[in-house]
């Protein structure tokens, strides 16, 4: 029987890797999740605790996938604390995928927003010239730098880390680094995922110069399939119309970059 993507499948965590003191990657076997498109997410059930939307992280082993989670509130901490051998439920994949251009690409990721970026890197062509910008507050929050370099070893590439406090890589905001890049050289496509204020600036930098840009939006998600409405961004439903939108569309959306809805559905400013 074919799997219905809306039914929760139980998987067992096979390996847990600490990326930073507050970020972990949990690996499991699942053929469907191992092959999702870059940008797609899953709804992840932590039994007895909650269910959260999570970008599907890549695994080097075929037939496997992972989630990279930052410990935050109750739910994400519950997932963070999952150990090898524990079971979680997954449904999906949900959402659309990045429209990957050819040529000179710029990827800008912050925190766990790097997860879809890593899968995007597995889809670039060998002829592409790829720049990855990784933003973090400080040195101990940097992760996936080695992975990015490894994934791009056959490409002309550049992985740049910038930390707000300068404790590692370039000092300064990743948005400034991005602005500098797009203002000085040509790009065929810019992709970003991370804090919305960051994405907003990246989209502005690129879109104002006519560069194709896509951002993956995060919103409160309950259903993941376009029923509950909790993920709305203006008239868009992030889970169903997105999560990936391009610069053209985002520049017309009055909520992007400014406000989002909380668990009760009240519009709050970022």
């Amino acid at each position: 029987m074919q799997r219905n993507s809306n039914h929760t499948t139980i998987v067992t965590i096979e390996k847990v890797i600490d990326e930073t003191p507050t970020v972990r990657t949990l690996y499991f076997s699942d053929h469907i999740m191992s092959n999702v498109l870059p940008g797609q997410f899953a709804m992840v059930w932590i039994p007895g605790i909650n269910e959260l939307p999570m970008s599907v992280m890549i695994s080097k082993e075929s037939g496997k996938a992972a989630f990279t989670v930052r410990k935050h509130g109750l739910a994400s901490t519950g997932l963070f604390n999952i150990q090898t051998g524990d079971k979680i439920g997954i449904r999906g994949p949900y959402g659309n995928a990045f429209d990957i251009k050819e040529g000179r690409l710029l990827l800008v990721g912050g925190g766990t927003g790097l997860v879809p970026m890593m899968r995007l890197l597995t889809h670039v062509k060998p002829t592409d010239d790829v720049t990855v910008l990784i933003g973090a507050k400080s040195k101990d929050e940097v992760f996936f730098e080695t992975l990015a370099n490894e994934l791009l070893k056959n490409n002309s590439h550049n992985v740049i880390v910038s930390t707000d406090d300068g404790s590692y890589g370039e000092k300064g905001f990743v948005t400034d680094a991005a602005e500098k890049l797009v203002s000085t050289s040509h790009f065929d496509g810019v992709y970003t995922c991370g804090p919305e204020k960051m994405m907003y600036k990246i989209v502005q930098s690129a879109h104002s110069r006519g560069i194709f840009v896509q951002a993956s939006l995060e919103r409160m998600m309950k259903c993941g399939i376009g029923i509950c409405g909790s993920c709305c961004v203006g008239e868009d439903l992030a889970c169903k119309d997105g999560t990936i939108f391009d610069g053209n569309h985002l520049s017309k959306n009055k909520e992007f970059g400014y406000s989002h809805r909380n668990k009760a559905g009240i519009l709050e400013d970022y």
Partner: protein, 303 residues
């Protein structure tokens, strides 16, 4: 003559008979506009309470093996006050405001919040099957239904609809009391109390354990409720429950509904479902030579 999709539910006039059911995509005016453009005759808001509610933790919604959806979002909503502000600017969309509460005063207060809004109707949710003290727990209490409907009717000139469902007392009694207390129309039905257990982890899937079943599985149940109400009482009815095709819509009209609502079908077919249903109804009307929806309403009752 080209048949018309316009319909009236008592005093309520709609250009199209298929509405968005309460709780589905229903928290933003922008989305309401989009749905209206997609062919919805009206949108019903999420059920609003006097204070904002976060609702239950996830999982709150999942798709049921064998069809349909189960949810226990726990009536998460921004509260009537916040919501009223959000729709104050509305001019285009026929909005029906759904309300939940435990006592008449809750409803009175909330209705007052909407005095500056263009509201097509208020829908009293007397039938949510998974939140304590409101919804069905109200609908199951005949005295309380009477008090609430009477209070609400005294607080507003906007038409008031009571939404009923399968509770612990007979829904037809609730309908009767609501009618006797002056209700303008009935929406039938809400979700049906249900549950699912994950066999691997051996625990209920919804964080609230129990939830409401919606979608195709409940259609035959909803249809019989509409037919039963229409056979017994002379009250305008809005049919709701598992409607996903134009044939479903026609079945509800024939059973006695003047309009329909749908929610779950959006999860299966996205918002084009309104347009698909409208087109199908029109084609059926042409074939059967009807010029108005009203001509079909209740035709199956004569058998």
């Amino acid at each position: 003559m080209e048949p018309s999709l316009a319909t009236s539910i008592g005093k309520i006039q709609l250009n199209k008979p298929a509405m968005l059911a309460s709780g589905i995509l229903g928290i933003s005016l922008d989305v309401f506009n989009r749905l209206y453009r997609s062919g919805a005759g009206a949108v019903v808001t999420k059920s609003l309470s006097s204070e904002p509610w976060e609702g239950y933790p996830n999982p709150t919604i999942f798709s049921v093996n064998g069809g349909g959806w189960m949810n226990a979002v726990g009536l998460s909503n921004p509260g009537a006050t916040n919501f009223a502000k959000m729709i104050e600017s509305n001019q285009n969309v026929p909005i029906m405001v759904s309300l939940v509460g435990s006592i008449p005063k809750d409803f009175e207060m909330m209705i007052n919040e909407f005095k500056n809004c263009k509201v097509t109707a208020f829908e009293l949710n007397l039938s949510c099957p998974h939140v304590a003290k409101v919804g069905l727990e109200v609908g199951d209490d005949p005295e309380l239904v009477k008090k609430i409907v009477t209070t609400v009717k005294n607080s507003t000139d906007v038409p008031v609809i009571a939404k009923v469902g399968l509770g612990t007392t007979h829904y037809l009694n609730t309908v009767k009391i609501a009618i006797d207390s002056g209700i303008d129309a009935i929406t039938a039905i809400n979700t049906v109390r249900a549950m699912a257990i994950d066999v691997e982890t051996q625990r209920p899937i919804l964080s609230n354990k129990f939830g409401g079943l919606s979608g195709t599985p409940i259609k035959p149940i909803a249809l019989r409720c509409v037919y039963e109400i229409a056979s017994k009482y002379n009250v305008p009815i809005i049919g709701c429950g598992g409607i996903s095709t134009w044939e479903d819509a026609i079945e509800f009209f024939l059973a006695g509904a003047s309009a329909i609502q749908l929610g779950s079908a959006i999860g299966d077919n996205w918002i084009n479902v309104f347009d698909d249903i409208n087109k199908g109804i029109l084609q059926y009307m042409k074939k059967k030579n009807y010029s108005t929806i009203g001509e079909m309403v209740g035709l199956a009752k004569k058998f």
